[in-house]
């Protein structure tokens, strides 16, 4: 019996919708079937596990569109969602309806294959989403874990152009990331670096002018990079917001650099950050990976679950409307092909991050996790 704890679940007051929701009050997706809405309203509630805190904004927008349905949001990391869902289904407990999570390598094996998490592609969207993003689960958008720097302190572009520079004295104690021992997405990032060892070796030679030499017990250039990064006193923190504050806060003379979500740049104005992606860094700034929406097999509100997923795919406007407003931001790449690309974002084709391969990543993850543990 394996069970895990959960991350904070905090709702917000449902009584006060922000004014902007009124401005966005576009006609809700016209094709949403009336009988689905009626069935969902009869259920009256939908419970969401979400790996992004933007679920709180979704709540506002959803309840604006469907005042009769209470969206109960829980902000839970993908790693914890997986453990939680396994435990809850194992114990026969009905809890959540919809899971919004990443961690594809584990999700497919641990949740989709045993049938705990079911795919749902809303009618009318299938032809607007690439097939690869419809099975085995519907991908909502592509998310990132990439190297970000402070553009206020470095107005002429990123202070590094090669990942290996992070292992040099200039950045000792000044590279920040979430502890990969506790977060799957960061572990995926390090795993991808190991999988891309050839590129890492080439980048090493480009940086230092000599071929890489590996330490004892180190198998490849990717592992060597991880070791050198840890030896260079990389700072592990508990959440991406800690990275964002450290790297992004304005008014810093010599800010650190760190791995976080490109899309957190969206909060620059509100939070007083100056986050920008170091897209040109060699060999790549990080990883890009899908975020999925699925229905739990024992969802207490299955119709409301389908309605919410339909809602989350957006409306017929160019930007997807209020449902997608939290996600129509630079750094998030929505899987819907009929939306206009965000004007301020690097176009997906020009974005240099590695796309993770779930199967290859899954096979190597534990090994990389143990490597990180053994090096600390």
């Amino acid at each position: 019996m394996i069970t895990k704890p959960l991350r904070l679940a905090s709702g917000r007051a449902w009584s006060l919708a922000p004014l902007c929701a009124l401005l966005f009050a576009a006609p809700a997706a016209a094709e949403t079937p009336a009988d689905l809405v009626a069935a969902a309203e009869a259920e009256g509630q939908v419970v969401v596990y979400s790996f992004t805190s933007r679920v709180f904004r979704v709540e506002t927008a959803f309840e604006e569109a469907y005042p009769g349905i209470d969206l109960v949001p829980f902000d839970i990391s993908s790693t914890e969602q997986i453990a939680r869902i396994q435990a809850e289904l194992g114990a026969g407990i009905q809890s959540a309806d919809v899971a919004y999570l990443a961690d594809a390598p584990v999700v497919f094996e641990a949740l989709v294959e045993p049938g705990h998490l079911l795919p749902f592609v809303p009618p009318g969207f299938a032809e607007r989403i690439p097939d690869a993003f419809e099975t085995p689960l519907l991908a909502h958008r592509l998310s990132t874990k990439v190297l970000m720097y402070n553009e206020e302190a470095h107005p002429d572009g990123p202070p590094v152009d090669n990942l290996w520079q992070l292992t040099t004295e200039d950045w000792t104690g000044r590279v920040i990331m979430v502890d990969p021992s506790t977060r799957g997405d960061y572990l995926d990032l390090l795993t991808e670096i190991v999988l891309q060892s050839d590129a890492m070796a080439a980048a090493y030679e480009a940086q230092f002018g000599a071929p890489i030499t590996l330490d004892a017990d180190i198998a490849n250039a990717g592992e060597q990079f991880i070791k050198d990064l840890l030896d260079n006193d990389v700072v592990f923190v508990a959440s991406t917001d800690d990275v964002n504050v450290a790297v992004g806060a304005v008014g810093q003379e010599n800010p650190p650099i760190g791995f976080t979500s490109y899309s957190d740049r969206r909060d620059n104005a509100e939070e007083g950050w100056a986050l920008q992606v170091a897209n040109a860094v060699a060999p790549a700034p990080g990883i890009i990976y899908p975020a999925f929406l699925g229905v739990l097999s024992n969802a207490p509100h299955p119709n409301a679950a389908e309605l919410l997923i339909t809602f989350l795919m957006g409306d017929e406007s160019d930007t997807g409307g209020p449902a997608l407003a939290p996600f129509y931001v630079p750094g998030d790449y929505l899987t819907r092909t009929d939306l206009a690309p965000h004007p301020d974002a690097i176009p997906l084709d020009d974005f240099n991050a590695w796309r993770i391969a779930p199967q290859a990543t899954a096979a190597l993850r534990q090994d990389v996790a143990d490597l990180v543990l053994s090096l600390q």
């Binding site: 905090s10 435990a87 809850e88 700072v235 592990f236 923190v237 959440s239 504050v245 143990d370």
Partner: protein
């Protein structure tokens, strides 16, 4: 009627009624279900392919050094440092309050007991607000950095602040234990020695130390056990410099899908703590041979501190204030500041009563305006109350059985078993309960995600305190009182209502409140048991803190702190019931 007789017979010291065997059996069943079986279940988990592999990985694999050995060394270092410091600090305070003419000693005594009611993570969070350096960026730095005072790295993160935060929480235990031993030192003895011209040092060495040595050892051992099992302090203050203890490693492993590795570490924690408590018991037994001087001495004559009176009073008052009032104020201030650790930031009530605003913390409303928080408060209070009642019920069975058996092997065994949870980390009790009660047992459904599992874990963890209060309640009642009532023809219910209960009640209530407070403020025990549908305040505060929503975390922590401290103060009449020596 039989149960009633058992209760009455048990509460009144020494009137065997039929049913001792049933009561003893019940006591063993209670302890087995709460503690022994769940723990054994963890050990059984390890005797599997995955379990044995985890044992090998943790002890001998390439992760061994960072998974086990270094965290083990850190855990030991913290345990020793905390135990020594707590005994020293608690001992000096206890001596000042009970034995000397220290001014303001009542206030100092009341405040010195309070840190035990304040969650460790509150102290740890307050520490970051003041001492954090700019390792996590300038915006995450604490007040000192913002005031232009450089903070050395070792004081900001890692072993030193973890130890200091634990000392600030645990010295209260040492104070209470040592003070209650000191009051048995006959002050007439010390006064006589003083008149005879013995120096203060000599009085301490010849009269005071021998009496309190066993309590010093016991307090040290308990602080050691509590320190090595602490999760929240190292989780908050250790991570940025990769400082880990067994508890944080076990939590990390269980949380990220390697539960077997976590179970190995938890087993190591339990065995370590058990060895040290056993060692302490041996030392204590030796110490006790000196403890014969203790007399029910008169209460006259406090040692005169002379010109040291006020300097010592100021020092003592600063210490107790720094560990009670100061962290509370720091957290309160931070919770109304737009930048947590920046004393120059704008003040705001948003984090307490603000409406949802998309520009702040992803649109989360202030905690008093947040239905989830309101629900968490109700769940927390409900679980606290239910655990208090259930723990007392369990403790009545165990405590009365111990009383009925009146010594002997069975009574000794029961007593040892009842105190076993003291040396088991809260995290381990949580893991054990979830492993055992989280899955269906025969026809019984899984308790995962139900309040029941929280209450079971809570009762298991607090059983020692509850049993202690029952034993103390029994000791309160002279058998002659009930005898005379019986002789004068009072019916058993009347004896219970008129004599037994009123006499036993204060101690039982004290036990109940202690259990309640421990449940309300505890994080380690519930961190693995928590589910989103069953929110608890401590977990929410911890989650907020790890999500970078510092002000929300601090606001919730202030709520927990107030509930705990007020419950304690209300139940003990400003602490006096818990510290009879404050009355004179």
């Amino acid at each position: 009627m039989r149960l009633f007789n058992a209760v009455r017979g048990g509460l009144s010291a020494g009137h065997p009624v039929s049913g001792t065997a049933a009561l003893t059996g019940g006591a063993f069943v209670v302890i087995a279900l709460l503690v022994l079986v769940p723990l054994a279940n963890i050990a059984v988990e390890l005797i599997s392919d995955a379990g044995l592999e985890a044992v090998w990985d943790v002890f001998a694999g390439r992760i061994a050094e960072n998974m086990l050995w270094r965290p083990l060394a850190n855990t030991f270092a913290i345990g020793f440092a905390v135990a020594l410091a707590c005994v020293a600090l608690g001992g000096v305070l206890a001596w000042l309050v009970t034995m000397t003419d220290l001014p303001l000693r009542r206030w100092i005594g009341v405040l010195a007991a309070l840190p035990f009611m304040i969650p460790t993570f509150a102290v740890a969070l307050a520490w970051t607000v003041v001492f954090a350096d700019d390792r996590l960026g300038v915006d995450a730095a604490g007040m000192l950095v913002h005031l232009g005072v450089p903070v050395p790295a070792w004081l900001a993160w890692g072993g030193v602040p973890v130890a200091l935060a634990l000392i600030a929480h645990l010295y209260a235990i040492a104070y209470l234990m040592i003070a209650s031993a000191l009051v048995t030192v006959g002050r007439d003895l010390t006064a006589a020695a003083e008149i005879a011209g013995a120096s203060r040092t000599r009085i301490l060495r010849a009269i005071v130390f021998p009496v309190v040595t066993p309590s010093l050892i016991a307090a040290g051992a308990l602080c050691f056990a509590e320190a090595v099992s602490s999760f929240s302090a190292p989780a908050i203050l250790g991570l940025p410099v990769r400082f880990h203890t067994l508890a944080t490693r076990a939590y990390g492993a269980i949380e990220t899908g390697s539960p077997e590795r976590g179970y190995v570490l938890i087993t190591v924690m339990v065995v370590t703590a058990a060895l040290f408590l056993a060692l302490a018991a041996v030392l204590q037994r030796r110490g006790q041979s000196f403890a014969t001087i203790g007399a029910q001495g008169g209460r006259r004559g406090r040692m005169a501190l002379g010109r040291w009176r006020w300097p010592l009073a100021v020092a003592a008052l600063s210490t107790v204030a720094a560990t009670t009032i100061l962290p509370t104020l720091v957290l309160l201030l931070s919770s109304v500041s737009t930048a947590s650790g920046n004393p120059f930031a704008t003040l705001t009530t948003h984090y307490w009563i603000g409406a949802a605003d998309p520009a702040v913390a992803q649109g989360q409303a202030g905690i008093l305006n947040n239905p989830q928080l309101v629900r968490a408060t109700l769940v927390t209070l409900g679980v606290g109350l239910a655990t208090g009642i259930a723990a007392l019920a369990a403790a009545l069975v165990v405590g009365l059985a111990i009383g009925r058996l009146r010594g002997g092997f069975l009574a000794g065994t029961l007593q040892q078993l009842a105190f076993l949870p003291l040396l088991i980390p809260g995290l381990a009790i949580g893991a054990a309960c979830i492993g055992f009660y989280g899955a269906p047992i025969g026809p019984l459904p899984s308790l995962y995600g139900t309040p029941a599992i929280l209450v079971i874990a809570g009762v298991a963890a607090t059983l020692p305190f509850a049993v202690q209060s029952v034993v103390a309640a029994r000791a309160q009642i002279a058998p002659t009182l009930e005898d005379s009532a019986r002789v004068t023809g009072a019916s058993p219910p009347r004896i219970l209502a008129a004599i037994t209960l009123p006499l036993a009640l204060p101690k039982l209530i004290a036990g109940f409140v202690l259990v309640f407070v421990k449940m309300v403020r505890d994080l380690d025990l519930v961190i693995l048991l928590y589910t989103p549908q069953l929110p608890l305040l401590t977990v929410i505060a911890f989650r907020y803190a790890s999500d970078g929503f510092a002000q929300f975390a601090h606001a919730v922590t202030v709520v927990i702190l107030l509930v705990s401290v007020l419950a304690h103060l209300a139940a003990t009449g400003l602490g006096r019931a818990a510290q009879p020596w404050l009355r004179d």
